[in-house]
């Protein structure tokens, strides 16, 4: 490693690897949280980390990583663009999914919130 020249490829490679590693660690933490939290509404917080920190961030890391892989040839720009778009799609779409299921679970009383201090929505809606 001492003979490594400061090229743009190496900088991009290490940024990509860092983001992907951060994403992997976040994903493991989120899955442990999803197992250990006591209730559905508390598990939503863990699922947020799993879907955004555990999927959007590593895909952006893969995109920057792909820019530095010169062994792929001109294909690496295609992988870069597609990965950024996929990350943005997941970024917009994942919160909508959890919002829909949480709203339906609350309104249909499938899951009654137990670990709650003050439920303003129930006071308003009755």
């Amino acid at each position: 490693m001492s003979s490594m020249v400061l090229e743009l490829n190496y900088v991009l490679f290490f940024i990509g690897i860092t983001l992907t590693t951060i994403g992997a660690i976040f994903d493991v933490i989120a899955s442990i949280g999803l197992l250990r939290f006591p209730e559905f509404y508390v598990r939503l917080h863990a699922a947020t980390i799993g879907s955004i920190g555990g999927a959007v961030v590593p895909i952006i890391g893969v995109a920057i990583l792909a820019l530095s892989c010169t062994f792929l040839g001109p294909q690496r720009f295609f992988i870069f663009g597609c990965s950024i778009v996929i990350a943005m799609i997941i970024f917009f779409v994942a919160p909508v999914g959890s919002h829909a299921i949480a709203r339906a679970a609350y309104r249909s009383r499938t899951v009654v919130p137990k670990y709650v201090v003050h439920d303003e929505l129930r006071r308003v809606r009755g």
């Binding site: 999803l34 893969v62 892989c69 997941i90 779409v93």
Partner: protein, 97 residues
């Protein structure tokens, strides 16, 4: 130049990143099978789907082929659709209303 991006990437990916994601996928699966209520299972399925998207992106670099990433595109666009279907079912409404 003693440092090659290609070999370091293949080794590092194989021995560190993929086992991390496989561990978290297994833990999501345990929550899916164990989940006492239906919304728990739906949440676990969504997290598994987003992890699968990451796998597809990583594997397209590993196989050195750019066309493989279209499958990840497709999965990302409707990974949330099961949440909407189950939400509609739980609120006890007709499919089209």
């Amino acid at each position: 130049m003693g440092f090659s991006i290609e070999t370091f990437l293949m080794n590092y990916v194989l021995y560190f990143i993929v086992p991390c994601f496989l561990i978290s996928m297994t833990l999501y699966l345990i929550r899916l099978i164990k989940g006492p209520t239906i919304p728990d299972m739906v949440l676990a399925t969504a997290c598994i789907a987003y992890d699968a998207c990451f796998f597809m992106c990583m594997l397209s670099i590993y196989f050195r082929n750019a066309y493989l990433i279209l499958a990840a595109f497709c999965l990302a666009l409707w990974a949330f659709i099961l949440d909407l279907y189950v939400a509609k079912y739980l609120e006890a409404r007709e499919l089209g209303e």
